[in-house]
């Protein structure tokens, strides 16, 4: 195979596998990032302990440094420090989850802050518990507020997944690299890979705007 010119049916299979890995890394790290991000945001919002401040400081550094460097830190640095083994995919998911969580935490805090404080006072005056307030008042409104930012973040994080190819994860970009080096057809390979990401991004965008419409239903003004 190696050195062969021209594309084969196996390239299509390789593309599909790369697509699967990219999707897996994206979905896993998005879900984990969402969970940890919300947790960090809530810990900070309720000022539970000094932990919140420390987590936010780490978040700031994760938001403001290159994801590639964070990948190197997790893939090369942490195993060297702790004397453990991490597979490229594990390192990729850990890094991207942490990075996503950092952005989510900030979105969570700003979305809660966007809610009119008087509503919360009103709710407390009706003797609602903090949990009820969070579930019934903060959650639905802040989610509607956060949706556009979350969709934007998702599209961005999809692109960020391409970086995991650098530590050896055989994702879509890595597949492109492999096929490109074998066929020397950059004008076919990279546009195909680029178009795949483009279509995925558009799908996320469309799904996102559908969700947005659902969450924003309560904002619609109706004539009485």
């Amino acid at each position: 195979m190696y050195g062969d010119d021209g594309f084969t049916i196996f390239d299509l299979q390789l593309w599909a596998e790369g697509l699967g890995i990219s999707a897996w890394v994206f979905i896993t790290s998005s879900i984990l990032g969402l969970l940890f991000g919300v947790l960090i945001g809530l810990i900070r919002y309720y000022r539970i302990s000094v932990l919140g401040k420390i987590l936010m400081l780490i978040s700031e550094f994760l938001k403001n440094s290159p994801v590639l460097v964070q990948l190197f830190l997790v893939y090369f640095g942490i195993p060297a420090l702790l004397m453990i083994d991490l597979s490229p995919v594990e390192a990729a998911i850990i890094t991207l989850s942490g990075n996503t969580a950092a952005f989510i935490a900030v979105i969570v805090i700003s979305s809660i802050d966007a809610i009119d404080k008087k509503q919360l006072e009103a709710a407390r005056s009706f003797a609602m518990s903090e949990w009820q307030i969070l579930k019934l008042i903060i959650y639905p409104q802040s989610l509607a507020f956060a949706m556009p930012m979350l969709v934007g973040l998702a599209i961005n994080q999809l692109q960020v997944t391409s970086l995991v190819s650098v530590i050896g994860v055989v994702d879509l970009t890595r597949v492109g690299d492999i096929v490109n080096l074998r066929t020397f057809e950059p004008f076919i390979v990279w546009p195909v890979i680029g178009a795949t990401y483009f279509v995925l991004a558009k799908m996320i965008g469309i799904a996102g705007s559908k969700l947005e419409n659902r969450f924003n239903r309560y904002k619609r003004v109706t004539n009485i």
Partner: protein, 219 residues
């Protein structure tokens, strides 16, 4: 135990990489601003073809990973007879990719200008060019300094991806230090902190500059 002080003796190597990062950042900021400005003008132009082109450009480059673009440029340009080294390939790719974000930022600045002000200028007989150079662009650019700053800070962080095409910038230099010292943890922690500090410092500078340039809005 992690020991960041072990990094001190490697500062010259970091510094060498940082200089390349700085150089490529400055050139690409200028390049992406020029690209973004031109496309933004197309984006708001009256010619439908120009608007369509600008829209497609923004849509494509905001939805494709930079790594894919840089591989395409690095392997594709020689195929079409353009032989430039990794440094200039990086500058070109960054200018075009980040130009898409500059376009959207400037477009927002332009469409947010009070329409009345543009009418006033027209009523005084300003032609298109004077209208843009004296009224629209000065207002659009000064009001966009902060968002443009975020775009450019992102550009600086994105230069790290150029390490994938063996460009000797800060991240590449650090990779070499990590492999020679066998201290990858310290090297990359140092690097995260360094990039983070750089970002904070630049954000603060940009915020001050934004405030200074927009002082005319203060009542």
């Amino acid at each position: 135990m992690p020991d960041l002080s072990a990094m001190l003796e490697h500062l010259p190597a970091f510094w060498g990489g940082f200089l390349v990062t700085a150089e490529i950042s400055v050139l690409s900021i200028i390049g992406s601003f020029i690209v973004g400005l031109i496309v933004a003008l197309m984006r708001v132009s009256e010619a439908k073809a120009a608007r369509l082109f600008a829209l497609c450009y923004v849509d494509v480059f905001r939805n494709i990973p930079f790594l894919v673009l840089i591989f395409f440029a690095y392997y594709g340009l020689p195929e079409v007879g353009v032989y430039i080294d990794a440094f200039w390939t990086g500058c070109l790719a960054l200018s075009i990719a980040v130009g898409a974000y500059v376009t959207e930022t400037l477009r927002a600045g332009i469409v947010n200008i009070d329409k009345g002000i543009i009418e006033v200028a027209k009523s005084f007989g300003f032609g298109r060019i004077k209208l843009y150079t004296k009224i629209i662009l000065p207002i659009a650019i000064t009001s966009s300094i902060r968002p443009l700053g975020s775009v450019f800070i992102n550009l600086i962080l994105t230069t790290s991806i150029l390490s994938a095409i063996t460009l000797g910038e800060l991240t590449s230099a650090s990779k070499i230090i990590a492999s020679t010292t066998f201290r990858p943890f310290e090297v990359y922690v140092f690097l995260v902190i360094f990039y983070g500090a750089l970002t904070f410092a630049l954000s603060a500078l940009i915020a001050t500059w934004h405030k200074h340039l927009n002082r005319y809005n203060e009542v």
